[in-house]
Structure formats: structure tokens, C-alpha cells
């Protein structure tokens, strides 16, 4: 399987490019990071507890299953963060992360 999400409408938006784990990925202006990644891939990250792939659950910022990071270590919820052209993201926490409180 390639992407998980299927676009049903609104396909005429401008394209933008993100870099996910260093790999360029084309998506559309107005996408969340989750939509951008999951229209191209089947998952966002690996669960650090069970080891299986994860792709989010609630899409409303409540479950925290969709965490990804910017290359400089800021944690983001992919479901509630808009994709911006040129953004560089990691699906694993980079070693230089800021301290976070959870």
C-alpha cells in the first residue's frame, strides 16, 4: 500500500513540498502534516511501546498518537499542524530535542 488517506475533493490547490526524514514529499497547501504524510505513506511513526506502525487516531489533538518532530526537535501533532512549504520533519524524535513535558 502507498498512501492511507484518499483525497475525495479539493484537489486543485497549489502544491507544496515537505521533507520527511529527508525525503521530499509533494502535498497541497491547506493540508495538515498528517494529510500530507498519509496521502503518501501508510503510517506516521512506530509505537515505542508495541513496535507497530501508527497513523493517528482522533485527528482532533486529543490522543497524541500522531507526534512527529521538526528537524530541530520541536514536537508537533501532525493532525493539528498545517503543512508549510519547505518544512523539514522527522518521524522519530531527533536526538537534539528540546525538553518536553508530557
Amino acid at each position: 500500500m502507498s498512501g492511507r488517506f484518499v483525497r475525495l475533493a479539493e484537489a486543485g490547490r497549489a502544491t507544496i513540498t515537505l521533507f520527511v526524514d529527508g525525503v521530499p514529499m509533494r502535498s497541497l497547501a491547506g493540508d495538515t502534516l498528517m494529510t500530507a504524510i498519509l496521502t503518501a505513506r501508510a503510517s506516521l511513526r512506530r509505537s515505542e511501546f508495541g513496535g507497530e506502525r501508527r497513523a493517528g487516531f482522533c485527528l482532533m489533538g486529543a490522543c497524541q498518537d500522531c507526534w512527529i518532530w521538526t528537524e530541530d526537535g520541536n514536537r508537533l501533532r501532525a493532525c493539528s499542524t498545517p503543512a508549510v512549504d519547505g518544512a523539514r520533519l522527522c518521524t522519530q524524535q531527533p536526538a537534539t530535542a528540546w525538553p518536553t513535558l508530557s
Binding site: 496521502t39 511501546f49 507497530e52 487516531f57 482522533c58 482532533m60 486529543a62 490522543c63 513535558l101
Partner: protein, 459 residues
């Protein structure tokens, strides 16, 4: 002296109407909302630049959606609106927020909590596979991003969102593999007299079922979920359930949208010191609220689905009512007719909600049938067996002790998605009613935040 601070948390239908009533009385409220744009869940707006019409997005509720959006847009200059801002705790009559402008501490004189709801989840074996989403999540993918969560989606659970989101998917051209409803037909029939309290809503609901049938979507009632099949790298591959006739039904799919109606987001009310009571009918703890919208804490008011799940129309009425009561308590003159109208709307919605609770019951009995390998806490992969063992070994019969021993409810979602099922599991394991198990205590921050700076106090 500075003007008194009246704060509203949440800009869904309840928060928007509360803000409007405050502004109409000459108050300039602070409106704190985590979302990017106002509207809340049901009237969630698509991003700028999307072109679908109100009818495409909100169907039968298009006019109400437009009215709430227009109302808020017209208020913008008369509010201190703080979008993308999380209220992460309340302490000593101060709200602690985190947003684009950093950390803030806002002392308040009056506070109206309109925090809305999240999906209520009954775990199923395999619900941790990638491709499994909450019903609300499946709807957000469509409404806010014009996407389906998969190529073949199964909708499983019970409640109004089950049929609503499945019908919205079918209408938008997504493939709906099946609707699997855990509630039996007999329950809907028994609920009819109460559902007639809101005949228009009932008609919309029947229309959804008709749309699904016309689209050729198989609908099964009274099913018992058995497993969401899948594997670690590729996620969901199918679902199996036992039908009401006892047959095993297996359906191939790459996505599942699941849920059993909603649960209110009550953490801020709890942190603000509001008293709670157990509601037998819906089997949940709710903040205590008087008929006018006051909580047990002076100056703290409650409205919308965050206080009790009554739907969007009642949320608008409750938001307005809570604001009018706030004004009244602060010595403004308020329109008594408006208050009475709001109360009547809420009363009708309450009767309807009782109908929904009967028509689509929370399948409590399923908890005892879950096998030990089923994941209970999706955040930290804690299984049903882990919690059962922890209960037996530590002789726990209380939710917070069980949490401390097993870590269930301590993960990133802070028990939003496992807490109700965990309470049922403890109740079933020790043979006490679920209300005796207590409820998971809310902890600050109500959601994980990135601490960037110390926090600046506004006065």
C-alpha cells in the same frame, strides 16, 4: 481598576453563543480556543482556500453552521480572541494557557467552560493497528481535509455519529464497506417516544439510514465486535463481528472508524474545583450544574457538550444561558424570556439524549468478553490482561489506584480513550458498580505541552 475579566474556553457552538451574549451586554470576553478557526467540532471549518459549499460540508445543518460562523466573525473586533491556544490548567482563579504567543496566566472574575467532547471508545481487539480511527476523527478527515481515512472503510460502534459519518463518506464518494452497529433494533424502537422530543433530528437520522441503504451499504444491527484484523507494518486488513443471528461475519477493509457516541471533556472543570456526580443513565461522571448553567464553584459556568452531551442545538442554547447567568450574577439586567427559551431547548435535548442513550447503549457487557491480549491503553500498549492482573495482585477496586499500579490512563491521552473502559473493567473484575470505582482524576496539563518559557501573568 481594570475591567473584570470574563473568559470563555472553547469556540464551538456553546462558546460562540456565550461570547455573543456577553458582547451584547457590553462585556469584552477573552475567548480561548485550541482550534485554528472558531466553529468547534460539528461546525469545524475547512482551511482557507478550500472550495466546498456549506451544504457539502454540513448537509442538513448548513444554515446553523453558517449562522454560528457569521455570528463569531461579526464579534471579532469586540473580543479578545486567542485561537490555537490551549487552556492547560486552572488554579486559584487563573487560567494557564499555551499558544502562539507563548505561555500566559490569565486571572479571571468569571469563566464559562465550553470544552466540548471527544469520542467514547470501547476497545476491540486490534484497535491499535494503523488505519483504525475514532468516528470523530474519520469525520474530521473528510470535513477539514476532504479525505477518506482509507479505500474501504468499516464503521463500527453505536450512536448518531456512526450513521452520520458513514453517510457523509458515502455521499462524498468514499467506499463504505459496512456499518456495524452494536445496538439492536429493539433498542431504537424502545427509545422512540423520547427521540420524538426532537422530531426534526429524528427525521435527519432516519434519512441517513435511507441514504446508506440507497448507496448499497450493508448495515448490521446488534453485532458483537470480535477483532480488527491487521499486522504491525501495514495496519488494518479487516474486521470480524458476530451478527445478531450468531453467525461470524468477516469484512475486508483497510480502515475502521469506531466509537460509541461521545464523552465530555471535563478536565478543566475538575481542575477548577467543580463538584462531579455520577449519571446512571449514561454511566459517566459529569460536573454538577444548576438549571442556569452554574457549576458548584462560584464564578465558574458550564455549557455545551463539555458539561453533558446534548448536541449542537442545545450547546448554542446552553452557551447563551450560561452567559446570561454570568451577567445576572454580576449585576447586569438580562432578558428573562431568552433564558426561559434556552432552558426549554435544553430540556427537549435532554429528553432526546435519554432516547439516544437507550437507542445506542454503551455496550458495558462487552468488557468482560475482551480477551487478555486486547490492547486497553493504546498510548502505552497496556493490555486488558495487564490491568486484570494488576487488579488481582493489588486487590484494587478504585480507578486511581489501578492507574498507579498498571499505568492505564497515564499515557499521552491521559485516559481520554481508555478511562471509561478501564473503569468498566475494574467494575466487572471486582463486582462493584462502575460508580464505586471512581473516576480518573484530571491532571495538569490537560494535554501535553511544550514548555518554552516560564509564563507571564497578565495582571
Amino acid at each position: 481598576m481594570a475591567d473584570p475579566v470574563v473568559a470563555v474556553v472553547g469556540a464551538g457552538p456553546a462558546g460562540v453563543r456565550a461570547a455573543a451574549a456577553l458582547v451584547a451586554a457590553g462585556v469584552r470576553p477573552v475567548v480561548i480556543d485550541e482550534a485554528m478557526r472558531a466553529g468547534g467540532q460539528i461546525y469545524r471549518r475547512q482551511p482557507e482556500g478550500f472550495l466546498r459549499s456549506y451544504t457539502d460540508l454540513y448537509g442538513s445543518e448548513a444554515e446553523r453552521a453558517r449562522a454560528v460562523h457569521d455570528c463569531f466573525d461579526a464579534l471579532r473586533d469586540r473580543l479578545d480572541y486567542r485561537p490555537q491556544t490551549l487552556a492547560w490548567t486552572i488554579s486559584d482563579r487563573r487560567i494557564f494557557t499555551s499558544g502562539p504567543a507563548g505561555q500566559h496566566v490569565l486571572p479571571f472574575d468569571a469563566l464559562i467552560l465550553c470544552t466540548g467532547a471527544t469520542d467514547r471508545i470501547m476497545p476491540v481487539r486490534g484497535w491499535h493497528w494503523a488505519g483504525c480511527y475514532s468516528l470523530g476523527g474519520a469525520q474530521i478527515a473528510l470535513k477539514a481535509q476532504a479525505c477518506a481515512i482509507g479505500r474501504r472503510t468499516v464503521f463500527m460502534g453505536a450512536g448518531p455519529l456512526l450513521y452520520l459519518v458513514a453517510a457523509q463518506y458515502a455521499k462524498a464518494g468514499a467506499h463504505v464497506a459496512a456499518v456495524l452497529d452494536t445496538s439492536p433494533v429493539s433498542a431504537s424502537l424502545a427509545a422512540l417516544p423520547r427521540l420524538l422530543a426532537q422530531p426534526a433530528t429524528l427525521r435527519v437520522g432516519m434519512g441517513l439510514l435511507r441514504d446508506l441503504r440507497r448507496a448499497g451499504v450493508p448495515v448490521h444491527r446488534g453485532v458483537t465486535p470480535m477483532e480488527i484484523h491487521g499486522e504491525p507494518d501495514h495496519g488494518v486488513s479487516g474486521v470480524s463481528v458476530r451478527t445478531s443471528h450468531g453467525a461470524i461475519l468477516a469484512i475486508d477493509c483497510d480502515a475502521v472508524a469506531m466509537g460509541h457516541h461521545l464523552r465530555p471533556e471535563t478536565q478543566l472543570a475538575e481542575l477548577a474545583g467543580c463538584a462531579f456526580a455520577f449519571d446512571r443513565m449514561i454511566g459517566q461522571w459529569l460536573p454538577v450544574r444548576d438549571a442556569d448553567g452554574r457549576s458548584s464553584q462560584p464564578g465558574v459556568y458550564l455549557a455545551g457538550d463539555g458539561a453533558r452531551i446534548l448536541g449542537a442545538v442545545a450547546a448554542e442554547a446552553a452557551g447563551e444561558l450560561a452567559a446570561l447567568t454570568t451577567l445576572d450574577d454580576r449585576g447586569h439586567r438580562v432578558c428573562e424570556t431568552a433564558r426561559q427559551d434556552a432552558k426549554r431547548t435544553i430540556a427537549r435535548a435532554r429528553r432526546f439524549a435519554e432516547g439516544l442513550a437507550r437507542a445506542f447503549p454503551w455496550p458495558r457487557e462487552q468488557i468482560s468478553r475482551l480477551d487478555n491480549a486486547t490492547i486497553l491503553c493504546r498510548c502505552e500498549a497496556i493490555t486488558v490482561g495487564d490491568l486484570r492482573r494488576s487488579i488481582a495482585e493489588t486487590e484494587t477496586d478504585e480507578a486511581n489506584r489501578a492507574k498507579a499500579f498498571s499505568r492505564v490512563g497515564m499515557g499521552r491521552c491521559q485516559g481520554r480513550y481508555c478511562g471509561l473502559a478501564a473503569a468498566e473493567l475494574i467494575s466487572a473484575a471486582v463486582g462493584t458498580p462502575v460508580e464505586a470505582v471512581g473516576r480518573l482524576r484530571a491532571a495538569a496539563p490537560v494535554k501535553p505541552i511544550v514548555i518554552a518559557s516560564g509564563g507571564r501573568c497578565e495582571r
